[in-house]
Amino acid sequence: MKFFKSLTTGQRTIALSLGFMLVLSIVRLFTNADDITSSATISSTLRVATPILLAGLAGVWAERVGIVNIGIEGMMIIGTWFGGYGAWKWGSWAGIALAIFAGSLVGLLHALATVRFNVNHVVSGIAINILAAGTTEYLSIIFFKGQQGGGESQSPAGKGGSGEFDMPFLAGGRIGSWRSPDILGWLEKKHDLPLLPDLAGLLRGLVSDIDIPTIVAIALVPITAYVLWRTRFGLRVRSSGESPQAGESLGVSINRLRYQAMAISGGLAAFGGAYLSTVVTSTYRQGQTGGQGYIGLATTIFGNWTPFGVFRGSILFGFPSALKFRAEKNVPALLLVIAVILIALGIVSAMKHKQMLTMGLFIGAALSAATYFLVDEVPQEFVAATPYIVTILVLAGAQQQLRPPAHAGLAYRAGENH
């Protein structure tokens, strides 16, 4: 445990992923659920996880500066619409850019209400969600209805993709017109071996059928970490969420920071929305976000308000849905994965002499394993509810480990706090 704590967040993410892969590998050998580590599953996990990741990062930026952002869902909705509109008119990248711009404006609106007018953050967020839903529905009827392929609740198809490719040699990508060998694809099919095909699947999932917006989104994780922890702007943002009085007493303009960070937050959330309407599909559809903004909010908490934590959370929350989508029959194997993880956590907590928690974890593991042997199929609804239940459990069980920004969501007016 000491060793684990000595690692940086980036290293921890890698260590945890490797551990997770090991568990998956064992379960795969045992159940023959080959798809739980196939490159196709990994690749679609990324696609499912990216919008959640972006929404989660939006949450990190907002809460780190001290503003609770319930409006992420609404900002994503705005993103889906403007992404769809831009893609239809000019192409995917224009759609994404337009969405980010529109999202920033919505973020600024949230900042205006909460910073300038001291409105309760949750209330303002709810208002933004209502406003976003109404605006996009209204605009769709004005702009999309009657267009070819468009309708009251759907945009016409976007122009062209945002660029997808396979990596040569590793995933059989093309160099010119020559198709290189697919080394990882070959390895991945050696299903009798332990771990090796799983790692090959993981790697191939990361390098095949990838698109640039996904890479940009993932790159935003270290970028956010860098900006928040290594730059002057980032330090001031974090101080604003921890103790705006401290910054103010030293001449830092808290209000300006909050506008800036909220514009970033809105832009990120809208990017997540645009990803849905330009990368995952090529059209805007009403209700496309389906609550992913709230899952993003959940990952902000689950990820302990850190970018790498949000990344872990989005993968974890995205994985079951991706598997469900790719290989329905393999989903029950996840119950065994959960059982193994719960046992591992149980052992850790037993070492810390937390009897109640240990017992709970072992009972959970037993139930999970028993369910695996009893059911053939995990209902879609359970997969969908997992992120929310996990978040509630984390909040209820591990709150001591969480470090939310101390001042997030509290009323603050510059110059009145001495």
Binding site: T231, L235, R236, R238, E242, S243, A246, L250, H418
Partner: protein
């Protein structure tokens, strides 16, 4: 005024004729202050004398209505603290302004970060500068630890570092020792001496006479908003300094008729209360207090020595470890707070804003608070608004609360009137025993006298009062007995007729511990 004719050497700070008014209050008037460079200059005065207001003026947190500020010979006008910082003034606030989840380094450099031209923080440079400042300060912590892991003394050290990091040469410390344990106080002054030796000037706000006399070079006394004396430790002793602060001889309680009754209203025996976290020392240790009818028992002590915890324990707001508490002979162990109140326990809380009032609610709702079981104000499960309003009006009249009506929200009243309202509410139900914590804190002289009269009057009619106060005049003037609390224990019992401020002071600072019974 003596000894500031150091010709040729410029004054570090000179305040002349400073007056600062707030709605309904004159916080400072005609303040004269001269601080020589390279000294530790104490500003002493009672709670509410206007020390903090004055220092906020000097630090640019608000502007004076009249008067001039001169720093190092230059006439200045500070619009914001940033201006004051630029002039080399730094302030260590009484309530620390630190972000717990940031590291020490991050807290120190915030707002003045050494960066490259792309906004990247140069942590190496920051660290080097902080470490050299730490050496001159004698501080030894790892600047990469989170502030949340620091104790109070270390946090104060970080606050000082913050000020020094900005190049401040004139340091204002607002009651820095209020939160420190004695050993930390010594360390703080060692640090301050070191800084002064390196050319800094320290303005030190305090109401603790011991440390002022022991460590400071010069003293300015503030009373009722204005400066009344400028002196040095060699020219005064404790008694005369205390008199300067209070403004007259301490009240003479002799010749008062004691009407202390036979029956015990409040009996606390062998009370122990656990500390706030596992492994911490006891918050209260073997407390024994008895209050009789018609008796005011004063509790003296520096804040944070267990007075708050004692009140909370008596009220049943904290689970006690062992011991017993009874009111009028009835053991309270298994009763809830509400029952205790119904048995005749009443409480004037430490902080009227945090625990005493509903600021946005009208006065009549405020005087009803906590009296929901009073049958005269209710009608079964319903409240009787008319009766409550009438009751509120009678409280307003009896306690001279200045307000247009009982419909006004509580925030509209001045602090003194708010306090009178709270006192009135707590006395209105004719309690058997009253816990009065700082009943006249932040209250003007007129209101103070009115509240004292009411307390005496109720005492004469048989009320038992446990009076917690930091105001020695109040304690000596009202109490029939004075107990001193130090470090969670009752360390002395004194007779107000013979008690002197020195005696109280030595017991309050834990220098000496007497017989508690």
């Amino acid at each position: 005024m003596t000894e500031h004719s150091h010709l040729g050497k410029q004054l570090a700070v000179e305040l002349h004729g400073i007056t600062k008014r707030f709605p309904g209050v004159i916080a400072n008037h005609d303040v004269e202050l001269t601080v020589r460079p390279g000294t530790i200059h104490a500003i002493v005065g009672e709670n509410g004398a206007g020390k903090s207001t004055l220092m906020k003026t000097l630090y640019g947190m608000h502007q004076p209505d009249e008067g001039t500020i001169t720093v190092n010979g230059n006439l200045v006008q500070f619009k914001t603290p940033t201006d004051a910082i630029a002039a080399g003034i730094g302030m260590v606030h009484q309530h620390f302004m630190l972000a717990d989840n940031l590291t020490i380094t991050e807290n120190i450099i915030l707002g003045d970060e050494p960066t490259d031209n792309r906004g990247r923080i140069n942590f190496k440079e920051a660290r080097a500068r902080i470490e050299s400042l730490m050496t001159s300060l004698g501080a030894t912590f790892n600047p990469d630890t989170n502030v949340s892991e620091l104790g109070v003394g270390q946090r104060q050290r970080v606050e000082i570092l913050k000020v020094l990091f900005r190049g401040a040469k004139i340091l204002i410390l607002d009651e820095p020792t209020a939160v420190l344990v004695p050993q930390e106080v010594d360390e703080l002054f060692t640090t301050l001496k070191r800084l002064v030796a390196e050319g800094a000037t320290v303005i030190f706000i305090s109401h603790k006479l011991d440390e002022v006399l022991a460590y400071c070079d010069e003293i300015t006394v503030i009373r009722r908003g204005t400066t009344v004396a400028h002196t040095t430790p060699s020219q005064v002793d404790r008694r005369s300094l205390a008199e300067l602060m209070v403004g007259s001889d301490l009240p003479d309680p002799s010749g008062r008729e004691t009407k202390v009754g036979e029956d015990v209203r409040l009996q606390v025996t062998g009370l122990n209360l656990a500390g706030t976290f596992a492994g911490a020392k006891l918050a209260l240790e073997d407390i024994n207090v008895a209050v009789h009818s018609g008796e005011i028992v004063g509790i003296a002590g520096v804040e944070g020595n267990g007075q708050f915890e004692l009140c909370e324990s008596i009220l049943g707001l904290r689970k006690i470890l062992s011991g017993s508490i009874s009111v009028c002979g009835q053991e309270l162990s298994h009763t809830e707070t509400r029952d205790r109140i119904n048995m005749g326990l009443s409480y004037i809380p430490f902080d009227r804003h945090r625990e005493g009032l509903l600021l946005d609610a009208p006065l009549w709702e405020n005087t009803f608070l906590g009296r929901e079981e009073n049958a005269a104000l209710t009608n079964g499960p319903f409240i009787s608004r008319g009766k409550i309003e009438a009751d509120c009006r009678s409280i307003i009249e009896r306690f001279g609360v200045l307000t247009p009506s009982e419909q006004v929200p509580a925030f509209a009243l001045s602090g003194g009137n708010q306090q009178k309202l709270v006192v009135g509410r707590e006395m209105a139900s004719d309690p058997k025993i009253l816990l009065a914590a700082h009943p006249t804190r932040g209250v003007d002289v007129g209101a103070q006298a009115a509240i004292w009269d009411e307390l005496r009057h109720a005492r004469d009619k048989g009320l038992g009062v446990l009076l917690i106060s930091a105001d020695l005049e109040e304690l000596i003037g009202l109490s029939d007995r004075i107990l001193v609390m130090f470090d969670g224990r009752v360390t002395a019992q004194l007779d107000p007729a013979t008690a002197t401020p020195e005696m109280l002071g030595t017991y309050m600072t834990g220098e000496e511990q007497g017989d508690a019974r």
